[in-house]
């Protein structure tokens, strides 16, 4: 499964993309990322109580915000592309 990192999150991952074996769902992916790239990154990805996707993080699965799918329980498969952003805006 393809992972893409953007904006200031590249400072944590030190890469733009990574290939991983698809975890069962978004929640498992977040745990994997925390383990892989450190607790500071994990703190950004998760809510402060560590129970959900953090409000400063946007996770797109094939372009769809996890919030419009099944949130942290959204299932993942090898064919998915997951894009991970800090909250950004502008215009």
């Amino acid at each position: 499964m393809k992972l893409k990192f953007f904006a200031t999150y590249r400072d944590f991952t030190r890469c733009k993309e990574a290939d991983v074996t698809a975890p069962p769902d978004v929640w498992a992916l977040l745990q994997h990322l925390k383990g892989q790239y450190g607790d500071a990154f994990g703190d950004k990805l998760l809510t402060s109580d560590g129970t959900d996707i953090g409000c400063e993080t946007i996770i797109l699965i094939n372009g769809r915000n996890a919030g419009h799918l099944n949130g942290k329980d959204t299932p993942l498969s090898e064919a998915d592309v997951v894009s991970i952003f800090p909250v950004v805006a502008g215009g």
Partner: protein, 608 residues
């Protein structure tokens, strides 16, 4: 005082008479300031059928009550007139340092009437206000004009001016202040040029005071703290600027590509995004007056064919010259964007007009000899060359200077102009974000993203998430966003403060500055009043009905999360009109106006 300085300058360019008149405090109360108040003055004084480039049109510079105060990002003004591009009310908003200086000089706004025979500029040094000869400035770029006026009058003078495209009637030429800050959209520069008014330069040493100083300070401390703590309004925009949006909009399948022809995923988006800009060309970031967001980019392309420096590019320009023209060379995008500031042109419309020309050229609709070379999508040299051609009013640039609608119409394909009411839509595909489709269709100044930024909830999750693919709930949210935006624009603060602040913080700053006890809802309602007045003007002016280019309504997106979708405008529009209390054709009804207490005495209604 109540955040106003109390005086409007009225400048008759034909008779060269300058009068100082008291600010209309009743209108300032009802229409807030800047965008709303300027529009009210305009509608009272100018008929909606006026030819935008005739002397009978007026040009208004208007600040807001929060301009020049310590309010979060409170340094803005609006330039208001009838737009020569769209025929709608034109209100273009700009930051920088000019507007606060105007207030410190003692003026809340300036109304320019009629036209001069020869080039002039307006000199304001506190109480001294004079029209001066600008023959030596005519033909100069924005940068040159600004430098020359500072050289002549002193470094502390601020300058707002037009470049050659404004003089030459380019329909999307802007009014630029402090070199890089633009009242960019709708051709306010062409109106200024038609009056032979090259620039306004101002130095002010006075003060702006607020009605309740202690409470106002509490309100701004609260607002500034919340803005600073927000991931976007705080560190986010400072770090990567607005160009950071390229990737997330692209990954969401909403980045219009090659004149919206090839869907909304641009394979080379990352090369043009804010991350690449920061890696390659960003020198530092910068803030407008009184702003803590500091989104501006100071940028240098150090070498190569597109060696250049300036401020930007912002996201919309980065898109129009990037994905929309199929160009992935960030250096070329930077240079084209800088040229727009240097000459004083709206990069959204210009980039999108070039993209339209690229599509027309590829399909053989524009003869190659008209352009002078083989124009194709993806050519970095073409975007720079054609931007310069418009700036200098040369060759094919003369046709591009009229915008994509007139270009596409001339070559027999008006449907390929990606514009609403003849103004180009910016960088979000309404097929992939349905609320944005409704926003474009209903915007009172034609295709525009800053009249109700539905992208924010739909694609960015700020301040809450809305599913971009559904239509439910979009009309109601858009109405609130449009009214709130009208309030923000009229108050004289930056729309970006909504990346951290909501109505309570914005209303609190307004309340303590002007000394009112109105509720948040009553203050927001003034935004609705502004919106309805603009709509009344447009209807009286005979502006076409609210719709979208056929491409958005009929051509399905080929790929991405919104694959197979079109903009489902009809259903949202009906709901929107009902929520606004307008009839099924989108006309505000007198019943609604009466019921909500809006009473228009403006000339616009007398002419209907």
């Amino acid at each position: 005082m109540n955040a106003w300085v109390g005086t409007i300058l009225r400048v008759d360019l034909a008779s060269e008479t300058i009068t100082k008149e008291p600010l209309n405090l009743k209108d300032a109360h009802d229409y807030i300031g800047a965008r709303g108040l300027g529009t009210k003055y305009f509608c009272d004084e100018v008929g909606p059928k006026v030819d935008a480039l005739s002397p009978e049109n007026k040009l208004i510079f208007m600040t807001g009550p929060l301009t020049g105060t310590g309010a979060a990002s409170g340094g803005r003004y609006n330039v208001i007139s009838k737009s020569p591009l769209t025929g709608t009310i034109g209100a273009a908003n700009s930051g920088g340092y000019f507007a606060p200086e105007l207030k410190y000089a003692g003026y809340d706004g300036i109304i320019f009437e009629n036209a001069s025979d020869t080039p002039v500029y307006l000199y304001i040094n506190d109480d001294i206000v004079e029209l001066r000869d600008a023959s030596g400035l005519w033909g100069k770029t924005v940068y040159e004009t600004t430098d020359l006026l500072k050289e002549e009058n002193g470094e502390s003078f601020k300058v707002s001016c037009i470049g050659p495209p404004g003089e030459n009637g380019c329909l999307y030429s802007g009014v630029l202040n402090d070199k890089h800050r633009a009242a960019g959209r709708g051709g306010m520069g062409a109106v200024m040029g038609s009056k032979k008014l090259k620039a306004v330069t101002v130095r002010g040493t006075g003060s702006v005071s607020v009605a309740r100083p202690e409470k106002f300070m509490e309100a701004i401390i609260d607002a500034r703290a919340k803005l600073k703590a927000h991931p976007v309004g705080g560190a986010g925009l400072a770090a990567l600027g607005t160009q950071v949006l390229v990737n997330i909009i692209n990954e969401s399948g909403a980045l219009p590509t090659r004149n919206w022809r090839d869907g909304s995923i641009f394979d080379e988006a990352d090369a043009t995004g804010g991350e690449s800009l920061a890696d390659k060309y960003l020198v530092k970031n910068k803030g407008c007056f009184g702003c803590s967001i500091d989104c501006a980019r100071v940028t240098v392309v150090p070498d190569g064919p597109f060696k250049s420096s300036g401020e930007g590019p912002e996201y919309e320009a980065g898109w129009s010259y990037g994905a929309d023209c199929g160009v992935s060379d960030l250096a070329a995008i930077c240079k084209a964007s800088f040229l727009c500031n240097e000459y004083g042109m709206d990069p959204i419309t210009l980039g999108a007009t070039i993209a339209c020309a690229m599509e027309l050229a590829e399909m053989g609709a524009i003869p190659e000899e008209d352009i002078g070379f083989k124009l194709r999508f993806g050519d970095p040299h073409a975007i720079v060359h054609l931007t310069e051609a418009v700036g200098k009013n040369e060759g094919f640039g003369k046709i591009l200077a009229l915008g994509s609608y007139r270009l596409a119409e001339k070559y027999g394909h008006p449907e390929l102009s990606m514009s609403v009411k003849k103004q180009e839509m910016p960088a979000y595909d309404g097929r992939a974000a349905q609320g944005m489709a409704l926003e474009y269709a209903t915007s009172n100044r034609g295709g525009c993203h800053v009249r109700g930024y539905m992208t924010s909830p739909e694609l960015l999750g700020v301040p809450f998430k809305m599913d971009p693919l559904v239509t439910e709930g979009k009309a109601a949210t858009l109405k609130i966003f449009q009214d709130l935006t009208a309030l923000i624009d009229s108050a004289g603060i930056c729309l970006f403060t909504t990346f951290g602040l909501g109505l309570p913080e914005i209303a609190a700053q307004y309340r303590e500055a002007v000394g009112t006890d109105e509720t948040d809802e009553e203050i927001l309602f003034k935004g609705e009043r502004v919106w309805n007045l603009e709509k009344h003007f447009n209807i009286a002016a005979g502006v076409e009905k609210d719709t979208l280019p056929p491409r958005l309504l009929r051509e399905k997106l080929p790929s991405g999360p919104a694959a197979g979708r079109v903009a489902e405008l009809g259903v949202m529009l009906a709901e929107y009109y009902e929520l606004r209390g307008w009839d099924k054709d989108g006309v505000p009804t007198t019943e609604k106006d009466g019921a909500t207490g809006i009473k228009y005495e403006a000339k616009v209604l007398c002419d209907v």
